[in-house]
Amino acid sequence: MNNEATPLWQHRSNRMRLLLWVGWLILVALFLFCWQVMTRDTIWAFVSDAPRQAADLGGRMFPPRWSYIEKLWIPLWDTLNIATLGTLLGILFAIPVAFLAASNTTPSRLFVRPVALFIIVASRSINSLIWALLLVSIIGPGLLAGIVAIGLRSIGFVAKLLYEAIEETDVMQIEAVTATGASRAQILNYAIVPQILPAFYGISVFRWDINIRESTILGLVGAGGIGVQLQASLNTLAWPQVTMIFVVILGTVVVSEWVSARVRHAII
């Protein structure tokens, strides 16, 4: 069908295809190199043994020890408290940080804003489990370390989303309130806060949901909650108990996700 006059349609130009090809080549080469470096110390006998190990583990894990749940109610209550109190603590610190980081409310773009942004990045890049690890070695094992760890991790998350919401506020409303002769505090209270309040509740509930997930495992490093039982069961190789704990964690996570989705749906 195609003669010289009607050139064949091509998706991309030649130059683009060459670029794509080089890109893929680099990606594959980098992957192979990383793979080599990563598996240098891997003992392949263990890896090829994995299906047998998995079957063995599965045999040990089932059936779960249902009666163990009686010992899990109090740790579960602790876990929920760690997540909720930690979220409150995080929000408490995140609000001022967010207002300092948003370019339209910060007192100084040159000095205060970078500091606030650094606080956000530092808090966000370090997982709550690492915060917990640090805090357990500083203030000792227990619920308090878990709460503070969750709080520290939440600051960055809440503050980042909140300051983005503040920067997206409608300028007209702020101008209107300013025109009435309102002070700076009144502008915040009557022009900015009502605009970001739905976003704020949404973010808080979202973070609470994530915190429930994270607080279930904080006990692995000694920061209280159901993870303490998990660690103890793992250390004694009590796999039926481990399965039971996984079931409880999974149930909690599913319920909290459902609650969070319902609340966010109702707000937004």
């Binding site: 470096v37 408290n81 109190l85 990045v121 070695s137 203030i139 709460i147 692995l220 793992l234 999974l250």
Partner: protein
């Protein structure tokens, strides 16, 4: 006309001026019924008191620890990169290689799963299979998967690689599927009208629409995987987390501070460069 309308408005205002309230009270935003608001606040307060009362804090231990906390702050401000550099370097190499390989594998696997989990391009049976893969992968946390994989595959970065790949599938496939379900149907229709096969439909109608977002999400996941790789080392799945765990266990807060600073720096770098790449793609 305009003037008279304004005047009548003013007149009406002055006539019924007494009806306007003198002060402004902000209306409640979410819960309109006052009694419900009170009940909720009371319940919250009761829970708060109960929760606080069940926390046992060993204040003498906390007071002892403050000294250590101060040493951590000092260690963070004067990080020691030198004395444990060999361990930090080894952990960092493991983390970075693990992050990259697992992201590539995860993205490659999540593309078919994501297409399968999109209702508008996949048959019903495949849709349910892929949706359940996504649900399982998303509801299990990285650290729990890591515990199981370490038990199966032995200690080291290989278990971590598998963990992160598995977690990537759930994250990316879900977002990709939602993106595919949101595509512009008229483009699919146009391609379908040319008599294209299913593969051609995916390649020419769906792929161009979701590609920019897929690249952006993959870069974001690269960033998340690096952060997670710092955590799963705690349960033995390789990476910088193991080094960090050791440093904290030995109370070497200056080395721990150095590791944390490196993590923060790499995350900042990844965030900055991914923003740059995303702008370039779109």
């Amino acid at each position: 006309m305009v003037n008279s309308a304004d005047d009548s408005g003013l007149l009406a205002g002055s006539k019924s001026g007494a009806a306007y309230p003198a002060t402004f009270k902000r209306p409640p935003m979410f819960i309109q019924r006052a009694w419900l608001r009170w009940v909720l606040w009371t319940l919250a307060l009761v829970w708060f008191v109960l929760a606080i009362s069940t926390i046992e804090v060993n204040w003498t231990r906390v007071a002892e620890g403050l000294d250590r906390g101060w040493r951590f702050v000092k260690g963070f401000l004067t990080p020691d990169f030198i004395s444990r550099w060999k361990d930090i370097y080894a952990g960092l190499v493991e983390s970075l290689t693990m992050t990259f390989t697992s992201t590539v594998t995860g993205v490659l696997l999540s593309v078919p799963v994501g297409i399968g989990a999109a209702r508008n391009v996949a048959p019903r049976f495949i849709y349910y299979v892929c949706r359940s893969i996504v649900a399982v992968s998303r509801s299990l946390q990285e650290i729990i998967i890591a515990i199981l994989f370490v038990a199966m595959f032995g200690f080291g970065p290989f278990a971590g690689y598998l963990t992160l790949s598995f977690a990537t599938i759930g994250f990316l496939a879900k977002l990709l599927a939602e993106d595919i379900e949101d595509i512009d149907e008229s483009q699919t229709e146009a391609i379908r009208a040319t008599g294209a096969s299913w593969l051609q439909l995916i390649n020419y109608a769906v792929q161009p629409q979701v590609m920019p977002r897929l690249i952006g999400l993959s870069l974001y996941r690269l960033d998340i995987n690096f952060r997670e790789s710092a955590v799963i080392g705690i349960v033995g799945a390789g990476g910088i987390g193991a080094t960090l765990n050791t440093a904290i266990d030995r109370y070497e807060f200056d080395s721990a501070g150095a590791i944390l600073l490196i993590i923060i720096l790499i995350v900042m770098l990844a965030e900055y460069s991914s923003g740059f790449v995303r702008k370039w793609v779109q």
